[in-house]
């Protein structure tokens, strides 16, 4: 069946560096999401994105975070600069329509040292 792919599965970077997490959503999907899960804690909504724009973001979506999907390619989450508290697993999800249950990727584990 259709899948949401996340690349890479694990990323290790030094604090203060920039990181870009890539998500390859299902090809005909129009709504995109990022969620964050700190180890051992609850999954939390970060942001959703439709028609080239951020629709809603949570308080976890700091000013250092940005999302884009240039020309229908990867849906990306960029963090610049990174902080220690950004260490977490980031999950991407996509759906065809807004009211539909989204399909989740397997996550990218980000370790900020």
């Amino acid at each position: 069946g259709p899948k949401v792919l996340q690349i890479p599965s694990h990323q290790i970077i030094d604090m203060g560096q920039m990181v870009t997490l890539n998500c390859d959503p299902v090809s005909n999907h129009l709504y995109f999401y990022w969620y964050k899960q700190i180890l051992g804690q609850q999954m939390e909504f970060l942001v959703n994105f439709y028609n080239g724009k951020v629709m809603e973001k949570s308080k976890l979506f700091k000013d250092q975070f940005s999302v884009e999907r240039p020309d229908g390619s990867y849906f990306t989450l960029k963090i610049q600069p990174t902080a220690l508290e950004d260490s977490a697993v980031y999950f991407c999800a996509s759906s065809l329509v807004g009211g539909q249950a989204p399909l989740f990727g397997e996550g990218t584990r980000l370790s900020v040292l």
Partner: protein, 110 residues
């Protein structure tokens, strides 16, 4: 904001036993999903069940919307069912923002 409470927080079963997981939520849910999160962290959607009863394989979910609760029944548990089961709700709108519970950690022993 919305709250999702799951119980029990952990559950240990012997292979072959049945599991009953509960999810209670604080506001009306237009969408409700059950997920399985493996020990490695990857997430799989099990069922989308905003109301009524749904079955898939050994899983049965029953959601009573008016009472703001849902259950997930796993029959004849297997060791491979071990992992964390997450309940998540959305209160509607086109943004479909999911609020997750903390999960139930299920351990199935041989």
């Amino acid at each position: 904001g919305q709250q999702v409470q799951q119980s029990p927080s952990s559950l240990v079963l012997q292979e072959g036993e049945n599991a009953e997981l509960q999810c209670n939520f604080s506001s009306t849910a237009t969408q409700l999903q059950w997920f399985y999160q493996s020990p490695g962290g990857s997430l799989v959607s099990l069922l989308s069940n905003p109301s009524g009863t749904k079955h898939t394989g050994r899983l049965t979910s029953t959601t009573v919307t008016k009472e703001r609760r849902s259950s997930l029944h796993i029959s004849s548990s297997q060791t491979t069912d071990s992992g964390t089961y997450l309940c998540a709700i959305s209160s509607g709108g086109s943004n479909y923002k999911l609020t997750f519970g903390k999960g139930t950690l299920l351990t199935v022993t041989p």
